[in-house]
Symmetry: C2
Subunit: 242 residues, 2 copies
DNA sequence: CGACACCTTGAAGAGGTTCAAGAAATGTGG
DNA sequence: CCACATTTCTTGAACCTCTTCAAGGTGTCG
């Protein structure tokens, strides 16, 4: 990977509008300044392009500034599993720490920009700034807990429940970023949703259609409007009962 | 939770025979000594008893000295998902860091003993000992990667493949601890295996029977002998084909 | 505008679940 | 130490959900 296709810009976290999302709280001015040093540069990632790939050397974590990513792992025989969808303010790359190389692909689903944070520097600085150390630990722990939730979904929910949980999760995260509580644009294909949810794309499509029939959502391609959040919540929290 | 039912013993990691499994490598003598301070005490956990429970305050990570655990999460409506099985040398409790409380149950599947490592102290010490800091990060990253693997399994494998992957994973970890490559005793019920693998206990049982018919394994209750590791590997790595 | 990727829907089929019954192991108390 | 209760495991048969295969429709981008 050459440095040629990496657009780079120097920046500062201390006045980034995503600060509350990706930075620790309760730092004093001096600490905030120092944390700026963590972000070495920014990098633009074109839609459909990988930020990193399975097998690539690990060196940095990435904070998403704009855009939308998917991460996916592959088995030896070429099976593919989407392990998550990430949006502004979220951190990707944690998988690479164990073995000093990435074990999944991170692909931009729309033109994106990330802050590159060399992990050496994160470790260095988090030895000195307790709040940063704690923050890093929380981010990793949060990812572990998130994955527990996905395991619950994959292991014990039926198609409708999975899709309902997926939509609620997406819209909730978008809402936390100032977007609508009820409207969203899916940045991923039915196939990618299916991969994430352990379903075939046809099942995803059919389940969407069922939700539309039931008046729970409106769907126009990738535009989704949630008409009845309660119904979705109910689907997730009260098994079967249909 | 009173301290009465916690059996406690003072100990030292520096001469623990699990050192290579749960401690960072390449420390000098002084650093090793200091790491002993991390383990405040040991605690015995009786079979069927929780080490910690969902909702409990988080304060420590636990290194398993002896015994075998399962961790499981529950959804609001009482669905239950086993998220992992842990054995000697492995660390549990990472889920608690984000919100200062545990989000899953850890239950001993046989009488067990754990080293209690207050997380405050881990953080303190890992600010001073780079090797420990890196080690903590690796442990968390490893857990994230492990869960990616489980997601792949749950999202894209069929029953036989799941059980094959499960057996191979177990026996490989046991082998790393000096046990047989081909024989193992399952510490968990069919139902717990099923929960972990996203299958019903009947399916687990039937799949075991199929493996026996095919001469891949011998099964007598919880005693399993693997007769044909290759066949299991093949099942995992080459989808379907029959 | 045409090519390509993406989405929807139907019909048939497979894999896993559910329900049920019985067998085997395990634990308990007398 | 044995008898009994309980838990765990196995197996069968019917059923159901999701998948597979196929075809056509819709949207998008150069």
């Amino acid at each position: 990977m050459s440095a040629m296709n990496l657009q780079t810009i120097k920046v500062a976290c201390s006045n980034c509008n995503l600060r509350e999302l990706c930075m620790p709280m309760g730092l004093n001015a001096e600490e905030l300044d120092r944390i700026d040093e963590v972000v070495s540069l920014r990098r633009k990632v074109k839609r459909g392009t990988p930020l990193f790939r399975n097998g690539e050397k690990f060196s940095s974590l990435y904070a998403i500034r704009t855009g939308f990513f998917k991460t996916c792992v592959a088995s030896e025989d070429g099976r593919d599993q989407v392990t998550g969808f990430q949006m502004a303010g979220e951190i990707i790359g944690l998988d690479g720490i164990v073995n000093d190389q990435h074990t999944c692909d991170a692909v931009a689903l729309e033109d994106a920009e990330v802050c590159v944070m060399p992990f050496d520097r994160i470790e260095e600085l988090s030895r000195e700034i307790n709040g940063l150390q704690r923050h890093v630990h929380k981010i990793m722990s949060r990812e572990i807990v998130r994955e527990h939730g996905v395991m619950l979904l994959l292991g014990s929910m039926r198609a409708e429940e999975r899709l309902a949980a997926f939509l609620l999760n997406l819209v909730q995260r978008l809402h936390a970023r100032g977007f609508s509580q009820s409207e969203l644009i899916l940045r991923m294909t039915r196939e990618e949703i299916g991969s994430y949810l352990g379903l075939k794309l046809e099942t995803v499509s059919r389940t969407f259609s069922k939700f539309v029939e039931d008046g729970i959502v409106e769907v126009k391609q990738r535009h989704v409007r949630i008409l009845n959040t309660e119904a979705l919540t109910h689907l997730v929290n009260h098994e079967t009962c249909n």
